[in-house]
């Protein structure tokens, strides 16, 4: 009897933990955040949005908002995704902290892309362009080049700093 109760109790606990983890995962999938520091003033960073063709990826489709009270905005042509981009001064003339928060059912699907876009944005703002290695020579054959393309894509999705 005691043994059965223990088994049932263990199963209930397992289901409970699994449900909690699933809820946590779902929450995480609906909220993605990245941040980078750019060595320009908030005004200079904001001015970049006057030339949206220079802005990488998703950043060209939203505008920065105030850190206080800003609301995530719907992103054109990205279903289930809302973005909030905020600019705040970094301490002691370190530049501007650019924070991007993605919410919505497809937020997690855009995680890697947001990281890469934010890094590219930082590079564009700091040195005019994001450096690339796409298209450079190697001694790889055709099949190896196809594999390498996927490797490069994975390795590019970074963006702290």
């Amino acid at each position: 009897m005691i043994r059965n109760a223990a088994v049932v109790g263990g199963a209930v606990a397992t289901v409970g933990v699994a449900a909690a983890l699933a809820r946590r995962r779902a929450r995480q999938r609906r909220h993605v955040e990245h941040v980078a520091t750019v060595v320009s003033s908030p005004g200079e960073v904001a001015a970049a949005w006057q030339q949206p063709d220079r802005l990488p990826g998703l950043f060209a489709r939203v505008t920065p908002q105030s850190a206080e009270g800003g609301e995530p905005e719907r992103v054109p042509r990205a279903r289930g995704l809302r973005l909030l981009v905020t600019l705040t001064p970094a301490p002691h003339d370190r530049g501007t902290e650019v924070r991007v928060m993605a919410t919505g059912p497809s937020a997690a699907d855009h995680d890697g892309r947001l990281r890469a876009d934010l890094r590219a944005l930082k590079s564009v703002l700091e040195c005019g362009e994001a450096v690339t290695v796409k298209g450079q020579p190697s001694g790889r054959g055709r099949a190896q080049r196809a594999v390498q393309k996927r490797v490069n894509s994975a390795l590019t999705k970074g963006g702290r700093g």
Partner: protein, 391 residues
């Protein structure tokens, strides 16, 4: 064009590959006239640095002529004879503005693996794995140089290619290593490693005012070069107890600064070395024989400056000695853009001799043999320099 490619662990081959083209506005294309093998390449060839891919072009220490520039290049022109810093840096981020170019925020085109390993990505490096950008290297007829205004430097006419090529890496790395030591009059500096970087670090320490500089190695031809070309003292670690010898030389004070210019494949003797080798085979740890010795040998309050390349972990690290002797540990990949213009002037003025380092000038087609000679120190090889334009 022809290029020397990494095809697997201890497997190099010259391949026909497409010529590079401009990919960013700040790029230049350089026709390579000389490209040196470097001790740090051996870690790639031996498979100790992760993220090398079959077909990657090796080489990061080079000189050549600019044959094409992107629309964003302002300071360099077609026809300029330039030496190019092995580190790729943007010149504009916080770290570049502070002169710490190898920490550049924007130089690594593929930063994710670096960030996952170390937390934050540094700058790029030519021909040095996908960890540091995946850039094609310089053991080729041509190379693409990103941020050309920042990383390429006109070479004085008085310097020939086989001398000037070391301004790309060995000379500024050695100079930075000595610069880290904050040398004061009367200081004694000990340098582990009598290869190109170690020799240049030793000479830099002397030029910065060290009273005495002692270089530690065991290969006779390298020790002989230190005596003959640099006029500095040496210790053969195969013959003497280095820590004891340095204590004696400094009359009990210990060196004021110790420079480690050996890195993850240090050689040594005894059980500790056997233990290091055993742990390096399955990639559990790197061989830090010289690093440990430098820390143990350093005098109280001294500086240990590390420019030998390490990629992952070391164990039996004498942290107790660092703490209880009050040592300062400094390290970085080279901040070459900060030093190269001054160093080229000094080289042209004859203050920094480098020609003797090139013991084996070779055509690119013999690149694999050059690395074999260099790795096993055969035929007195200190450095092989590849000439891609030679027949």
């Amino acid at each position: 064009m022809k290029a020397l490619c990494w095809m697997g662990v201890n497997d190099l081959a010259v391949k026909d590959v497409p010529e590079p083209r401009l990919l960013n506005d700040g790029d230049a294309i350089v026709r390579i006239t000389a490209s040196a093998v470097c001790g740090s390449d051996l870690h790639l060839i031996d498979g100790y640095i992760p993220a090398m891919r079959r077909g990657d072009i090796l080489g990061h220490e080079f000189i050549g002529e600019i044959v094409e520039v992107g629309p964003g290049v302002r300071e360099r022109r077609v026809g300029d004879r330039v030496v190019v810093c092995s580190i790729i840096s943007c010149g504009h981020c916080r770290y570049c503005r502070e002169g710490r170019f190898s920490l550049c925020d924007n130089g690594n085109a593929q930063p994710a693996a670096f960030e996952d390993l170390y937390g934050y990505a540094g700058g790029g490096i030519f021909g040095y794995s996908h960890l540091v950008g995946g850039y094609a290297g310089s053991h080729a007829e041509y190379v693409r140089v990103p941020f050309a205004d920042v990383g390429s430097f006109p070479v004085p006419g008085a310097l020939d290619d086989d001398s000037a090529v070391y301004a790309s890496d060995a000379v500024p790395t050695g100079w930075m290593a000595a610069d880290f030591c904050d040398i004061r009059p009367g200081d004694v500096v000990a340098v582990w490693g009598a290869g190109g970087v170690g020799q240049m670090a030793a000479l830099a320490a002397r030029l910065m005012g060290a009273e005495r500089v002692v270089v530690i190695d065991r290969f006779p031809e390298r020790l002989e070069q230190v005596h003959r070309h640099l006029g500095l003292d040496t210790l053969d670690y195969g013959e003497v107890d280095v820590v004891e010898a340095l204590r004696d030389i400094t009359a009990g004070r210990g060196p004021d600064a110790c420079i480690e210019a050996v890195g993850m494949e240090a050689h040594g003797f005894g059980p500790q070395y056997a233990y290091d080798r055993a742990k390096q085979l399955p990639r559990l740890a790197e061989r830090a024989v010289a690093l440990r010795e430098a820390i143990l040998a350093c005098g109280k309050g001294g500086v240990v400056s590390v420019v030998g390349v390490f990629g992952s972990f070391v164990d039996k690290f004498p942290m107790g000695a660092v703490v209880n002797k009050g040592l300062t540990l400094r390290s970085a990949q080279q901040h070459g853009q900060r030093y190269i213009p001054e160093l080229l002037e000094r080289m042209a003025a004859g203050e920094i001799p480098t020609a003797h380092l090139t013991t084996h000038p070779l055509p690119l087609s013999e690149g694999a043999r050059g690395y074999e000679l260099f790795k096993h120190k055969r035929d007195g090889c200190v450095r092989a320099v590849l000439h891609p334009q030679a027949a």
